[in-house]
Symmetry: C2
Subunit: 176 residues, 2 copies
């Protein structure tokens, strides 16, 4: 960040009075520009004993496999976002959303919120952001070709939970 | 938002190519400025059958009661943030954090994530953002003087859950 969004003057990275952290401060108009973690929301769509994964058509991690997920937008609830992303990336319709894993990625200022969801039918296909959409049994999960650590972590928990047939909600920290 | 953070040119609110939502776009350098919901994280600190609440010393909602909570900062996990805010606002030490309620407030682009937590001792007192910090039994909760709907919602669920002595994690949508 170089310039103030309010008045276009140059900003300085410094700790404002009464604050404990450096912020981009505008000495011209006084505006303080806060930056906060952003949230990625998605689903782990399940049909019988298989899981739907998408092979990414876009960077980062083009060609790697992921769960359908994307940025939470202003004006949207978590479940709205999860359903929308699943539709956009896999043209897949899901129901019975259950909060499943929240992954903290503090080193990149991201959070992933993943719902377990029931895939309503197998009438899915790749959206513009996916090269391929496919169902995998737990044994078939391409662990070495997963796009993001938050996705590996979610799938790892899912495979463990499957054995006990219990899927408690969890907060997981990565990389700290 | 008026000016580009990268080059200081005036921004325009329009839908970028390949996107579905209006963004602040810079036609001079091409930067797209995304805005996403922000997360407030806090605790519901419990000691025996009482709940710790703070009376706000600052706007908005000065003088109203709230749970200790604040903005999730870059570089921070949810539990780090919850513990820090509880310390800053109530000088209270908590342990045994359990994910409890996630409140969606899409009309103001906010999310509240509240942990249930055990108050370690009664050696708490107001921080610079609180006028007063006090323990309330469920019957004493000042429902008409609570600062935010996300806090009322969390406390309402807590009182219901107390009756069954079961505290499942929930995602709650407000105002949609
Ligand atoms: Zn300025
Ligand atoms: Zn620009």
């Amino acid at each position: 960040m170089n310039f103030c969004t309010q008045c276009s003057a140059k900003v300085t990275l410094r700790i404002p009075e009464g604050d404990g952290r450096p912020r981009f401060v505008c000495d011209s108009c006084g505006a303080i520009h806060y930056e906060n973690p952003k949230m990625v929301v998605g689903t782990l769509p399940v049909m019988d004993d298989t899981i739907l994964l998408c092979r990414r058509a876009i960077e980062p991690r083009r060609n790697m496999w992921t769960l359908p997920a994307g940025w939470l937008e202003n004006g949207e609830t978590l479940s709205d976002c999860a359903v929308r992303e699943t539709l956009e990336e896999a043209w897949a319709q899901v129901a019975d959303l259950q909060p499943y894993v929240l992954v903290n990625l503090p080193f990149i200022n991201q959070l992933y919120f993943i719902y377990r969801a029931r895939l309503i039918n197998d009438d899915f296909h790749s959206g513009s952001e996916s090269l391929e959409v496919k169902l995998f049994s737990p044994a078939e999960i391409p662990w070495d070709e997963l796009a993001f650590s938050a996705i590996s972590e979610t799938l790892k928990w899912y495979c463990k939970d499957l054995e006990k047939a219990a899927f408690p909600f969890r907060v997981v920290d990565i990389g700290i």
